[in-house]
Assembly symmetry: C2
């Protein structure tokens, strides 16, 4: 009998491994931050002597969900402006709010709320592009969540920097601060083609290469953007990045809505990962990304929530459900994007496109223990014929019962173990009071 | 001081009245099954002496949500077959399961689970078309939910009847059984144009007129159906019903996907109510209903979940969110179907199209007390800038805390007060075991 820290068992273990193995009455043995075995519960129990055991009737064990594109701190602007055209939403509401409020203190507090929301919805890793990311890293680490973080790089001044060189210098020092961290992977995050010059993109790429870290960029989110790039560079957005030698498997491109088949072929060939942000794209009427075509071309499409000011939550279960359904209707084919595929995109593929595929994304021996337990004992999940279908088409974030990140329990019985939930909500309310008072003043 | 049974108070009362009045720190006074006053909490409290008071910090009070099209008992087939073309799904999976299993006992048990799921998600009224609806009525009444129920009328035999005349006779006796009931409104439910002859439709219409009850029909759900009607009757589906004198404000038409502007004009002129079943339509790839065009033409579009075998839940909050977002993207306009409009469609308009607009659908003096309390003290609903936006774009069914139907508390603190939740789930599991054993046997 080998001593282990945890055995986590449930009615079903969805490993999300190469064969999408499902183990009925299965269990996962965890030691330190690693999964050391996965199998039938009775056998795991014979082999290992756990410090702690977590097993609940009617539960499903699955890998932590992965949110491949967000601006986590924007939870503090959730619902500040809705049902507006993108330009007005951004220029009249979001940018002024960001300029007024963003600071390391704001980010620290806001990201804690975002982590709480994501963890409670089964998300164990998120990929962020925003400002003052050192503060985001600190709070994410404190809560015990995994993240890939990148400070946005732009050509125009914001609260975070004034010049491209200052942004790039910030990015370099951010990578230095966090490289090698257990939970936080630093990345380089040039904002978008329309907001970064060719030089800025090339310098961003060079830093990413030097430090061997991922690149995260917005790509073809709006029709306007695709048109701008065409006018300025006489190329389609993906072709332009390809011409710079920007694209490879280290790149995560968010949105990819206004792209054509030639561009999809480039994304597939260069093994670029895509973050599809369905709910944000719908709500801002940005358009429909050609997800089914990308999947058929071999592009790894994954799920991003985008910021909570445009969605309005950080709910990957909901993104899976909406995406699987909308793309069936768009392709006039109910067999595409089935429940298994959707969950694969939300777990293992999410890890792959963030360069973490060897570490997380599935429940396999040797991988890090990022594990979620979902409770099926709910009216809307009863009875059970197909557990994949339940997770994708019927489960809610509130069905997530227990969450482990890196071998450490962070949520149990839907309660945060690594922070004070009431205090996190209270801080948000206090920030929002200041923000609302200011909005009232400027609108007078 | 007048004695009342309840005062229900919250941070916000969304009355959903003509002016969409929102009362901050508001309250509703209830006596018997009626709302006798709505106003600012401190004033309501001065005027009335409640038997019981329900007030929680950080809550929103709103009218019960209304599900205008479902087949409630299909919850027992939730997840039995997914990601399949409609024809295969229906003919190879759903119809055989229905033929094998449907009985008054099945319906009684399954509808109890459906009611539980709907109530826990804030739905206080549902509009059902299925079989053995006497059993549905009994269980719905037992749980204390409101419903409009109609036994499906078809030209071909099912477990419920053999001939059109038998179906019509059943429908007549069903109406006789339930007419005048406090919670259950019987209706006449000819299944669809393609499954009912002209004679069956005309006789259905005649019974509805005689008893002055609503009509509920599937209309233009698939492109195939619209084509069939054209071939058989040389008319578009809505034109055909119009030619029969079938259409008026007593008719609730579910789906209405494959209809054109001329047909929309008829629906508007005849004041036909529409149940839009976005998530079912997406998942079965049935198409996109022209919701924005219908709204612009003045058609009252409301939300239906359809059966849980095609969706896979009975979640109106989710339908509101998905519908509001998808139709922005389809119209390339993020200002359409804003949060207020979506909630109006899910409450007052839902009541209107079921002929219950004078009784329920808003929180106003004299209306029946169908009231929902939603808890905002959640990470994904923090902070609060706009309560409509939170309900439509961020809230989950699990945020519903307390539900009153007809002046009686049915859910409090997310617990069912009118039945044993564990027993309801257990019954579902036992039925599903039988169904699974049979599926295994026939698939061998």
């Amino acid at each position: 009998m080998q001593n282990v820290d945890y055995i986590i068992g449930g009615d079903y273990v969805l490993t999300m491994d190469e064969n999408l193995t499902v183990i009925e009455n299965g269990a996962v043995a965890i030691k330190g931050n690693k999964i050391i075995d996965v199998g039938v519960y009775s056998e795991i129990y014979k082999k290992y002597n756990p410090e702690k055991e977590i097993r609940r009737e009617g539960s499903v064990i699955l890998p932590g969900l992965i949110n491949t594109h967000t601006h986590a701190a924007m939870v503090y602007f959730r619902g500040i402006a809705d049902d507006l055209p993108l330009k007005i939403w951004l220029e009249n509401h979001i940018w002024p709010a960001e300029n007024k409020w963003l600071s390391p203190e704001f980010i620290y507090d806001a990201v804690e709320l975002a982590c709480l929301e994501m963890l409670k919805g089964g998300v164990t890793t998120y990929n962020d592009m925003y400002f003052f990311e050192d503060a985001a890293g600190e709070t994410t680490k404190k809560v015990g969540m995994r993240a890939v973080l990148g400070t946005g790089i732009l050509d125009f001044p914001t609260v975070s920097a004034r010049t491209p060189d200052e942004y790039l210098e910030n990015a370099r020092s951010f990578v230095n601060n966090w490289k090698g961290d257990e939970l936080i992977t630093p990345c380089i995050a040039p904002h978008a083609i329309y907001s970064c010059s060719t030089e800025t993109l090339e310098k961003s790429r060079a830093i990413a290469e030097k430090f061997n870290v991922p690149l995260h960029i917005h790509l073809s989110e709006t029709q306007w953007e695709a048109g701008e790039v065409k006018i300025k560079h006489n190329k389609k957005p993906v072709e332009y990045l390809e011409s710079l030698g920007f694209l490879d498997e280290k790149v995560l491109a968010a949105h990819c809505i206004w792209i054509d088949d030639d561009e999809i072929e480039i994304l597939a060939r260069r093994k670029v990962g895509v973050s599809h942000c369905m709910e944000s794209n719908l709500k801002l009427a940005s358009g429909f990304a050609p997800v089914v075509t990308m999947l058929m071309a071999g592009v790894k499409v994954t799920f991003g929530t985008d910021g909570a000011a445009s969605n309005n939550d950080l709910n990957i279960l909901s993104e899976m459900s909406t995406t699987a359904k909308v793309h069936k209707a768009l392709s006039n084919n109910p067999t595409v994007l089935d429940a298994k595929k959707a969950l694969l995109m939300g777990t293992r593929w999410g890890a792959d496109v963030l360069g973490l595929g060897d570490k997380i994304g599935s429940l396999e021996k040797g991988k890090l223990a990022d594990i979620v337990m979902l409770d099926l004992n709910k009216p809307h999940l009863t009875p059970v014929y197909d557990v994949y279908s339940h997770i994708v088409y019927a489960a809610m974030a509130s069905d997530i019962e227990t969450v482990m990140v890196n071998g450490k329990l962070v949520i149990d019985n839907r309660k945060l173990l690594t922070g004070d939930e009431a205090e996190i909500l209270y801080k948000a309310v206090r920030w929002a009071e200041k923000i609302k008072r200011h909005l009232l003043k400027i609108n007078l």
